[in-house]
């Protein structure tokens, strides 16, 4: 008998005693545990019964295993973890207010205590011990947050948005069209050569008047034994259904389903502009890195590139939905954008005779240079070349401007700061680049430091990489020779304080256009990026990627592994928050940015954000230590 506990019967007291044998209840005050017990219910699950399914809705209750065991099973039916008596789940999903990502299955006959979600949150507020236990381990929380986001996005990713895209964006190649008088033999050979499933018959005006598909060939030509000298007009489907190329994909689906057809000519002002096949439309559902890579390689028409750029964006959204981590995701986005840029550069350089014999290299700068592109990226690029006379310089610049404008058409807006290869200021010979870099290093003005932070992350993207490597080697020596410059860079980097407040938990950005927000790029990710750059320059490393720079630096500076791991986790969490924020903005049809109102984050993410910003401070503290600032 415990006289302190009011209104507790022997069942309540016995349950209190049983719970208090395990963490975190062992350290909690007696009446907090009783408060909990009086809100519990007990449920039984036979072996193999499902306790929780991945779902969009937040879980209704906290489960505490009373006896038995529970497996967490991923989408591929692999058991990913096993929980035993005394363990609680799904903590992360409850804290984040999201659905669970895994399926929870009874691995044996199991009894669980269930605590309603509202009481779980009330207990978090009541009991510090319980709160600490549930929220303390940042790494496992991040994992949980990551898993939780998977289900949220996977379920939110509907096809609606994709099917609202204009048909023109789905078309992968220029249409193959013939005149009505073309002999069947000629049309069929061409179809085979181009590996296409249909041929459109057009008049001189380019207006489609018929279509013949491979399926038609079987019935109308082969089985009907029509001689191959017959003009195609004799067997084509006359007056085929067409759609304007700016009609949404959904219209094509409906028309195809209604008419039982698989190929649809697209027209613009009555002219044939493409053919969309059922396959093209369903390919949308199966976006893959390989698919986009090979589509980029295959395409022989630069006009198709904006569509592929769109696919890269869709793929990034879907990978985000599948719970890919920020490090891999930003690397994939960057690598696909690289390939797209390379393709554009190839289109523009191969046809340009004036470039023949010139050595040049396209440089990716900024986030692209670091392989850290998010969903909102404008252009940051430059051109380096070997000796060139004025005319050649003009040709290089014209080429770069064409690439810039094609990139713009692909959704990489022209850089507001004019940091683009087509700008005469940033289209320089190797010797001029060295002079420019040397000036920034010597000068150390705020503007010079700003430029250094963008340009010193350069990476060769296309052309003669030896030029970029030469410049990197030069920079390595120049930066190491100049401790004053690194000192200034550090001082500059430390001015950008992570927005953690003393009174409130976050300090909001003073940007008038974005009140009550923090800038996840400038005040979140940038402290890591800046510190990593200085570490790399000081060590003479050619590495441009922030995580890799930090890894290298940790070795050289004897930073313990777990500290490094926390830095990188924090950096990638900030990147992930940016990606998620941009993702939801793009879905809402807004221009993506980096301004997040912390109050819109769920309690788990908010807590992790604070922790991540604390890590940013630690990186800065390390920098300050190195440069005695």
């Amino acid at each position: 008998m415990n006289p302190v506990i009011p209104l507790a019967n022997s069942l309540h007291r016995a349950t209190v005693d049983a719970l208090r044998r395990q963490a975190p209840f062992a350290t909690m005050a007696n009446d907090e545990v009783l408060w909990l017990v009086q809100r519990l219910s007990v449920a039984y699950y036979a072996e193999h019964a499902v306790l929780l399914e991945p779902a969009e809705v937040r879980p209704a209750a906290l489960f505490i295993i009373k006896q038995g065991s529970v497996s967490g099973v991923a989408a591929d039916d692999q058991a990913v973890f096993q929980l035993a008596a005394g363990e609680m789940f799904p903590l992360g999903a409850l804290l984040a207010g999201r659905g669970v990502a895994n399926r929870y299955i009874a691995a044996a006959d199991t009894f669980c205590y269930l605590l309603p979600a509202s009481d779980f949150h009330a207990l978090l507020a009541r009991s510090k011990e319980f709160n600490d236990f549930c929220t303390r381990r940042i790494a496992s929380l991040l994992e949980e947050s990551q898993r939780a986001v998977q289900s949220e996005y996977a379920l939110a990713l509907d096809d609606e948005q994709r099917f609202a895209r204009p048909l023109a964006s789905v078309v992968r190649r220029a249409p193959y069209a013939v005149r009505p008088t073309t002999p069947l033999a000629e049309a069929l050979v061409a179809m085979e050569a181009a590996r296409i499933g249909s041929v459109v018959v057009t008049e001189e005006t380019d207006a489609p008047i018929g279509i013949l598909t491979l399926k038609d060939v079987l019935t109308r030509v082969t089985l009907a034994q029509v001689p191959l000298v017959t003009p195609i007009s004799a067997v084509m489907t006359p007056a085929p259904a067409t759609l304007p190329d700016d009609a949404p994909v959904a219209d094509a689906l409906v028309l195809m389903a209604r008419q039982g057809i698989h190929h649809l000519p697209l027209v613009h002002d009555g002219h044939l502009t493409g053919v969309v096949s059922e396959k093209d439309i369903f390919a949308l559902r199966r976006l893959s890195v390989d698919g986009i890579t090979s589509a980029l390689r295959r395409t022989d028409d630069p006009a198709r590139l904006p569509g592929l750029a769109h696919d890269i964006g869709d793929l990034a959204h879907s990978l985000l939905a599948q719970g890919m981590d920020a490090e891999n995701l930003t690397a994939i986005i960057s690598s696909l954008n690289d390939q797209l840029t390379e393709r554009i550069i190839a289109f523009e350089s191969e046809t340009d005779r004036k470039l023949a014999g010139l050595r040049w290299c396209w440089l990716a700068l900024g986030s692209e240079g670091r392989m850290e592109q998010t969903l909102a990226t404008d252009q940051d690029n430059a051109l380096i070349f070997d000796h060139a006379d004025d005319a050649q310089r003009e040709a290089l610049m014209a080429f770069a401007q064409r690439v810039n404008s094609r990139l713009d058409a692909c959704g990489f807006p022209l850089c507001r700061g004019e940091i683009m290869a087509g700008n005469p200021q940033w289209c320089l010979s190797a010797a001029d680049w060295e002079r420019q870099f040397a000036q920034w290093i010597d000068h150390g003005s705020p503007e010079a430091l700003l430029h250094a932070s963008i340009f010193f992350d350069f990476r060769p993207l296309a052309g003669d990489a030896a030029l970029a490597i030469g410049l990197r080697t030069w920079l390595k020596h120049a930066a190491q020779k100049n401790p004053r410059f690194l000192h200034q860079m550090s001082r500059n980097a430390l001015r950008n304080r992570p927005p953690l407040g003393v009174v409130r938990d976050f300090v909001f950005s003073d940007d008038q256009k974005h009140p009550h927000t923090i800038d996840l790029k400038m005040n979140g990710a940038t402290p890591f990026v800046d510190a990593a750059r200085i570490f790399a320059l000081a060590a003479g490393s050619p590495q441009t990627n922030t995580a890799k720079r930090l890894r290298e630096a940790a070795q050289a500076l004897h930073i313990p592994d777990h500290e490094l791991a926390d830095w990188n986790r924090a950096f990638h969490f900030l990147q992930l928050l940016r990606l998620r924020h941009q993702h939801s903005q793009q879905r809402a049809g807004e221009i993506p940015d980096n301004h997040v109102d912390p109050d819109t984050l769920n309690p788990l993410d908010r807590r992790i954000l604070k922790e991540a910003l604390r890590q940013a401070r630690k990186v800065q503290a390390r920098l300050a230590l190195d440069y005695k600032l």
Partner: protein, 221 residues
């Protein structure tokens, strides 16, 4: 004679009807009960304590539980105290029997009763309710000792007592022979049985009663 308050409570309880037999088992509120008596004779020995827990929506709700001791005019023989562990002073510290019984009915209401070897509990409670309050509640009784072998015939030959079934399903009792503790353990067993019944497509009270009637024609061990 009952006092005015008790009489009013009794009148309200007399109006209780039996539960709808078509109601799904999953939606049913069950009252799992165990009584402690001053001996093993249901017709004579005094009722010492009632323990009960409710199952609703397929779950035992810990706050929906019931525990009352009944005051005795005379403490029972020492031999029974050894079984139940209710000392003479604890017995006398309980509530007046008519109040405890009114409390019990207000807790149980129309819910079907479940007990292990329910015949005994049913007889003891009916006798007490009848003599103290003049009530015969119409709620049906279910015997876990009868239902369990029907749903787990393979284990039936090995299990006859509550302890056997509890051991089979790994259910522990925090204080064996305490009324509430035994009721709670029986309730956990009942959760297992309800789960098994659902697997056999027994989904209503009526179907469960039909199964129990059919048992009379089944060969038992």
């Amino acid at each position: 004679m009952l006092d005015a308050t008790s009489a009013a409570r009794r009148t309200a309880l007399a109006a209780l009807r039996a539960p709808d037999p078509g109601r799904p088992l999953a939606a049913q509120r069950w009252c799992v009960v165990d009584v402690e008596t001053g001996g093993l004779d249901a017709t004579r020995d005094p009722l010492l304590a009632i323990g009960a827990v409710a199952i609703e929506g397929g779950r035992i709700h810990l706050d929906d539980s019931f525990e009352r001791g009944l005051t005795q005019t005379e403490a029972t023989a020492a031999s029974n105290i050894l079984i139940h562990g209710i000392s003479g002073s604890e017995q006398r510290a309980g509530q007046a029997p008519h109040v405890a019984l009114l409390d019990w009915l207000e807790f149980a209401t129309t819910a079907p009763r479940v007990a292990f070897h329910a015949g005994f509990d049913q007889a003891v409670l009916q006798r007490a309710l009848h003599t103290r309050l003049g009530l015969r509640p119409p709620a049906p009784w279910f015997d876990a000792a009868v239902v369990a072998p029907l749903l787990f015939p393979a284990a039936a030959s090995r299990c006859s007592q509550l302890d056997d079934w509890l051991a089979l399903f790994g259910i522990t009792v925090y204080a064996r022979h305490g009324a509430l503790a035994d009721a709670y353990a029986t309730a956990e067993l009942w959760l297992v049985l309800l789960n098994a019944a659902a697997r056999e497509n027994i989904t209503t009270l009526r179907q469960l009663q039909r199964l129990l009637r059919a048992r009379r024609w089944l060969p038992m061990h």
